[in-house]
Symmetry: C2
Subunit: 407 residues, 2 copies
Amino acid sequence: MRAAARLAGFQELETPSVESLELYRVKSGEGISSQLWGFQDKGGRDVALAPESTPSVARIYAERAKAEPLPVKWFTVSKLWRYEEPQAGRGREFVQFNLDIFGAAGVEAEVELLAAASLLLDQAGAAGLYAFRLNDREVLESLAKLLGATDRPRFFRALDNRRKVPAEAFRAELRGAGLSEANIERLVELVDHGPEGVDPAESTAFLAQLDALALPEPGPAGVARLRRILELLPRTGIEDRVRLDLSIVRGFDYYTGPVFEAFAREGDARSLFGGGRYDRLIELFGGPPTPACGLAIGDMTLELLLRSHDRWPEGEPPLDTYVVAVSPELIPVAIEWVAKLRRAGISADGDLLGRSLSRQLKEAARRRARRAILVAPREHARGVVVERDLTTGAQRECRPEELLPAA
Amino acid sequence: MRAAARLAGFQELETPSVESLELYRVKSGEGISSQLWGFQDKGGRDVALAPESTPSVARIYAERAKAEPLPVKWFTVSKLWRYEEPQAGRGREFVQFNLDIFGAAGVEAEVELLAAASLLLDQAGAAGLYAFRLNDREVLESLAKLLGATDRPRFFRALDNRRKVPAEAFRAELRGAGLSEANIERLVELVDHGPEGVDPAESTAFLAQLDALALPEPGPAGVARLRRILELLPRTGIEDRVRLDLSIVRGFDYYTGPVFEAFAREGDARSLFGGGRYDRLIELFGGPPTPACGLAIGDMTLELLLRSHDRWPEGEPPLDTYVVAVSPELIPVAIEWVAKLRRAGISADGDLLGRSLSRQLKEAARRRARRAILVAPREHARGVVVERDLTTGAQRECRPEELLPAA
């Protein structure tokens, strides 16, 4: 996934694991999550193990903003900690892969994020297993206005929980948020637009439905962004995996425009990653006004998804060459071969336990080596080695220089 | 460095960052380092941010020992924490790259570690900048006996500090450890054998000197190990970087055989990495008796070394292709090209800011792209793009399929 992020022109940034507790107060207000692992360091300062990377990334960007040519495209691979009950897909210590773009106000940045995330997920083996759900915070805000939500946070929360509760509970929450029965009907119809699943033509029809609502400000700009994103996505080859979904809210308060989540196409609806635009966050951390958007992919839900499709890489990666010393006095020669192959960029290993020929060949098979090179007394005396293809069993004698790639 | 470790047949293992405080008591006894960042978790347990990886690796190995075919070759890349004054080459949060081999009793394992460490350091850009110093704990133990050290810990500490204190202070410490003046002279002569620097012939002469001492048990086995290591090293091509040095002790108590450190060849003598054999550690953690050895490379001293030789990679890695949209309506086509190139394994990027042609080309230069692909209206209408070599400035029209590697 790191390699894929570099292909996509993102640069790796390292974030600290121990941050001042204050950093999380800035973003979340006084109510700090009970899941935060806070403690006092030996200097008596309140610190915490980072529960997410975005505050660190935003702080670092705010500090460096003047020095960085725009746009800045960073990725982080950070260990993070949340003190919660460990369960399938959630651990107290986990890794998050973040992508962030600073300085780009247009939705080309969101398209870039979704395309890069696809490249990363496909690289990790998840090709075909996931889809994105896309929404816009300003569309949601104007919907709240249009539909008469008097308790906006509750309205948002109801949408956010919609997939986790029965239809009746969803309606009850909307009622609690101040919506009339007629408006609840309208919203349910909008949220359930078209058949489940991804269909570009259906998305276009849905955008026309949103247009027809004549949303108050700032809705129309949000609809225009969604339209432009859907227009550009086919260029990245991922239009087959994006669906508009008004129930995507994203928990954090700081999102200001498009928001999105990725889900497994089948089975558990747990989010694979989420993200969106947060154009006001850098200012919160003392930096200049900076358009920004990002997303975070968690390792544990991705692992669950890959495992459930038998795509999790088990065991060690296969070796290219296993070098066998046929008799003990040839161990030094075998060591020499291993070193030469590695220096030529070929993964290679040899025996460290003084094993017999047959047990060395067994080990070569266990390591799934493509070939074995046998260093044997008579052949060694004649300046050749034996190369054995471990798939076909075919053997040939060859001169040492044939084993290494041409310089 | 990860890629180099995989070439050398090591498998990545992830270690937790938060460990039970108990883990560090097991290894170090009751006196836990004052540099440990300990705290209580929300369940009231005493935990600590890991200050080194070896205890975690050993604990995990001890738990899994029965399931792992031998030898086990693991590498870890772990964030670690020590609460000490930050200074050049030392931070409170740092990264350590560990290599460990379990199940191999012979010094082929040490040779493997030194060869793999060389591969890693060379890969990181340090080729030619470092040398290893090699010793053996059993040689040291028998030297202590032979020379009449009555206070063995002090004798070891004196040797360990030898490079950090003036010659007179070294002698005073040896005196304090119980050595006679004559034996102090003998030891100083042994420690200062031959000219500074690496010389395989001189190492061989030094081994003969050690033989002539007629060391008591367990010294001779240690000398035999050093001899065998020096005999095998030329096979790995790194004999030009190893020197025997009786002042290499290694702080940890758990080493049982060969020990080694790497230093910069010039300037600051600060250790780049250290390691050795610890055949009794796995039992300490409740596992079966297991021969084992390992080493740990710290990121900060390595960074200092590379920076002091202008080998630290500054800025982002160069991009292969920057795709330029010559007019705004061609942005979608540029996005399409970027996506296609990346999917073909070519690092590619395009503009996210709607910039002019000249500013896009400036950005391409800043990103050190090898080439630009210009999507221009007239050429686009004819189904071609312009490829510009950003080194020579040469341009040519080409058909899209020419830009992608043959499938």
